[in-house]
């Protein structure tokens, strides 16, 4: 930097420290910005840099550069810099701020970037009240791509894509971003300022500083919309362009504060304390002892239970399968549980595939079960045929429906399980009576494994008791009633 000391004089305004002395990232002309002469972006940059200097936050600042003429903002700001996709600055800023709450995150966006392609991101960041600062440059056009219409283009204004002037019947009305965002609950500060005169510029300086200071104070979302000249696209000299802001643009976009809750905004709640690393497994439910220690099985035996459970949604089909798998794991089996999901899941039916095996499980799909638990007639009809000869079929009903009785090669156990469950306490635990019957008939698992699994899955003491009684009811139904067993 040149030495600007002159005897008898004190420097009162000079290049802010938050700008690089020389723009080394810029390939050429490293003493100037890449902006056109008289462009408002340069003035807006300076207002930001001065505010960063005044607030003493250069090290903490992360500037988000958008896509648009200001895509190279990172050439100039000697702060942390992130260049992002078109319109997405608020999303990126959201995550930077949440990742590093001590950082001061400033998203800088043009009107194509913020109000067109990025309309969703700005709306939701504002609505969440992200404690970031957004500097929004409204120059009424797409500068970078050569002067197409922006959402903020004035009615009647010609651009390369509105060659006959913006027509409200075709392109709609200029979008009032500040007014829109001020209709939300969360934003703390929303103001529209201009760069059309000395007075407007000094007011803009105040607003920009305020929007950044809010973040330093830990307040919520702040946005400053800056009506900014674009002499090149407007085909005016810089002085005329500035005057257009003062005399024309403000008629459509009135200046003013649309939201100021800097005094009344509630303090943000403190972040939850971060646990010790040693505590994390327990938080994830992985601490030793939280889940069953697998017991080794009696060796030599090859066991391969392939179970299909089927019924209507709400009958506890998936839960039955889960308890079975969990108890099986506890008993030392290899297990898998696959819920019906996809084309089979139509019209409220539900089913799951459970495997309990003494060997590693290849396919978790059970296409040829050796146990079928059918909680209703459609399920029985659907899944009976592929049951393996010698397999077990448990059916919730007293009569084997017509057309199903022909499978003499399977063990058929048909009982009114829902009714039995009702008698035991609650008809909704029919799934457990069927499980009880399964255990009794096949000896698949020891009772205590199932009860342990139930205790882990069912938190309510009442339901645990209901389920336990239902299990017993199911067992009894097998030992006593033999009516339909083939």
């Amino acid at each position: 930097m040149p030495d600007l000391t002159i005897p008898g004089y004190t420097v009162v305004h000079e290049k802010p420290r938050s700008f690089y002395p020389v723009c080394e990232r810029k390939p050429e002309m490293q003493h100037q910005t890449h902006y056109c002469p008289g462009c408002g972006h340069g003035i807006a940059h300076k207002l930001i840099a001065v505010a960063i200097d005044e607030l003493g936050i250069q090290d903490r600042t992360v500037l988000i550069s958008p896509v648009g003429c200001s895509v190279f903002a990172y050439y100039y700001f000697d702060t942390g810099n992130i260049q992002v996709a078109h319109g997405r600055a608020p999303a990126v800023a959201t995550a930077v701020k949440r990742s590093r709450p001590e950082s001061i995150v400033i998203a800088y966006q043009g009107d194509g970037d913020l109000a067109a392609i990025g309309a969703a991101e700005i709306l939701h960041a504002a609505n969440r009240g992200e404690p970031i600062t957004v500097i929004f440059i409204n120059n009424g056009t797409y500068g970078m791509t050569g002067g197409q219409m922006a959402p903020t283009t004035l009615i009647g204004q010609t651009t390369t894509t509105t060659p006959f002037g913006r027509n409200v019947w075709n392109e709609g009305y200029p979008l009032h971003v500040s007014e829109l965002l001020a209709s939300l609950e969360a934003p703390v500060y929303v103001e529209r300022v201009g760069l059309g005169s000395n007075k407007q510029i000094m007011n803009a300086a105040r607003a920009v500083r305020r929007a950044i200071e809010n973040q330093v104070k830990g307040l919520g979302f702040s946005l400053v919309e800056i009506l900014s000249p674009c002499p090149t696209i407007w085909k005016m000299n810089p002085v005329e362009a500035q005057r257009r802001v003062l005399e024309e643009t403000v008629k459509t976009f009135p200046l003013g504060q649309f939201r100021d809750r800097t005094k009344s905004a509630p303090a943000r709640p403190a972040a939850a304390p971060v646990p010790l690393f040693a505590e994390i497994p327990a938080i994830l439910g992985l601490a030793n002892g939280a889940s069953p220690a697998a017991k080794t099985m009696r060796s030599g035996e090859t066991i391969d239970w392939r179970v299909r459970v089927a019924g209507f949604g709400g009958q506890g089909v998936l839960m039955l399968g889960e308890v079975l798998a969990e108890a099986g794991l506890d008993a030392g089996f290899e297990v898998s549980w696959l819920p019906s999901y996809g084309p089979e899941m139509r019209s409220g039916t539900s089913n799951c595939h459970v495997r309990l095996s003494s060997k590693p499980i290849d396919s978790p799909l059970v296409l040829h079960p050796n146990v079928l638990l059918a909680m209703n007639e459609p399920s029985l009809r659907k899944f009976l045929a592929p049951v393996e000869p010698g397999g077990w079929v448990f059916y919730n009903g007293t009569e084997i429906p017509q057309g199903c009785a022909g499978r003499l090669d399977v063990h058929f156990i048909a009982r009114p399980f829902a009714e039995i469950a009702g008698n035991a306490g609650d008809a909704r635990s029919a799934n457990m009576t069927m499980l009880g019957a399964l255990l009794e008939a096949t000896g698949m698992l020891a009772e205590e494994r199932v009860l342990a699994a139930l205790r882990r899955r069912v938190s309510s003491g009442h339901w645990l008791e209901v389920d336990r009684r239902a299990l017993d009811g199911g067992r009894e139904a097998v030992t006593k009633g033999v009516r339909h067993e083939s």
Binding site: A85, A91, A95, S99, P281, A293, V335, G342, D362, S363
Partner: protein
């Protein structure tokens, strides 16, 4: 640590947190939503961030922000959401930002359905966004691998400063199996290049923009060199009874599980069948396929799609052996028998060719 019976989607989140992931940004979609739900439950408890974004477009850009700030971050989605994320993934790769994306594939195109499919292979493995970049892609076949490959994904993402995708299907995401988690917890580290709002990180810049053609070409070459390195160092696959196999089945994810059952059944019938299961879909185990093609007579690729992985197998085998394809789509999953029928059909043909 003892085994826990959990869903594939939940295993991803637990694996991620143990691997030091402290941020999840996502948008709900079946069959991936349990990932977001588990993250919503656990992230705040471990000092991490969970945020339901307004769209997948926002979610992937939030990942860009979190990764820029040096946080291990992830998202999860399914086909329609991954399509929306492609722009952001291209930016992440271009800006060399690490992150993990879980794709729990469902049926497509369009809204398709929510059933398991493997139709995202091309858009994920070939890099569905613009520009010369790749994502590293890991394909779990079990709930255990949902956890362990997610952990690996974070290490690879950091090692290569590149997005890594865990590509699973609805079946693996939805099913429950026992998982053994590592006894160690990774302590999150802040990389040197991150922009964290501190004096040390002030000179750092995250960008994918290189205006000058020479600069951009140099950058692309640099990315390319990383991908070549990954191709040398990161290829992972499982070879299942391939040593003496005449027919080699090829499949990943849930399909590989079915193919294992098919291999067992075929072997019990005296047929020399094996399975090559790619674990990394990119980098692709092409060398191993080429090696196997010296002995095997034919390959059979099975996919839950009309044929995407099969292109890579054909490229690797270079026409030296026939590569047959069997695909199911729309959520239908081929049974073991279906595959066996195909294999039994081929064996006499191959033997005839040998004679």
């Amino acid at each position: 640590m003892s085994k826990q019976l959990i869903k594939g989607n939940e295993a991803i989140v637990k694996g991620a947190i143990l691997a030091g992931c402290r941020a999840f940004y996502g948008y709900p979609i079946t069959p991936a939503s349990e990932i977001a739900e588990a993250a919503a439950l656990y992230m705040p408890q471990v000092g991490g961030v969970f945020l339901q974004a307004e769209s997948e477009v926002a979610a992937i850009n939030m990942l860009y922000g979190a990764a820029s700030a040096g946080v291990r971050a992830m998202t999860a989605s399914s086909g329609p959401g991954i399509s929306l994320m492609q722009e952001g993934i291209s930016y992440l790769a271009g800006a060399e930002l690490p992150c993990v994306i879980a794709d729990i594939m469902r049926g497509g195109p369009g809204l398709g359905n929510i059933a398991p499919e493997q139709g995202d292979y091309n858009q994920v493995v070939k890099g569905g966004g613009h520009g010369c970049y790749r994502t590293l892609v890991l394909a779990p076949e079990s709930v255990q691998e949902m956890a362990s490959l997610t952990s690996l994904a974070f290490d690879l993402a950091d090692k290569y400063r590149n997005p890594v995708v865990v590509l699973a299907d609805g079946c693996i995401g939805q099913m429950m199996e026992p998982v053994e988690f590592p006894a160690t917890v990774v302590e999150p580290q802040v990389p040197r290049w991150a922009v964290t709002g501190t004096a040390d990180s002030r000179p750092n810049l995250i960008t994918s923009l290189h205006l000058d053609p020479d600069d951009l070409e140099a950058h692309i070459r640099h990315l390319e060199a990383k991908y070549r390195r990954a191709e040398r160092e990161e290829v992972r696959f499982e070879s299942w009874r391939t040593e003496d196999a005449e027919i080699v089945l090829v499949g990943y994810g849930i399909v590989a599980r079915i193919l294992k059952a098919a291999v067992e059944q075929a072997r019990s019938e005296g047929l020399a069948v094996g399975l090559l299961r790619p674990i990394t879909l990119y980098p692709f185990p092409g060398d191993e396929l080429r090696r196997l093609s010296r002995r095997a007579c034919a390959f059979v690729v099975v996919e839950l799609s009309t044929g995407q992985l099969v292109d890579d197998v054909r490229l690797a085998v270079e026409g030296r052996r026939p590569v047959e394809f069997h695909g199911r789509a729309g959520g239908n999953i081929p049974g073991c028998e279906e595959v066996l029928a195909l294999v039994r059909d081929m064996i006499p043909r191959e033997q005839m060719a040998d004679a």
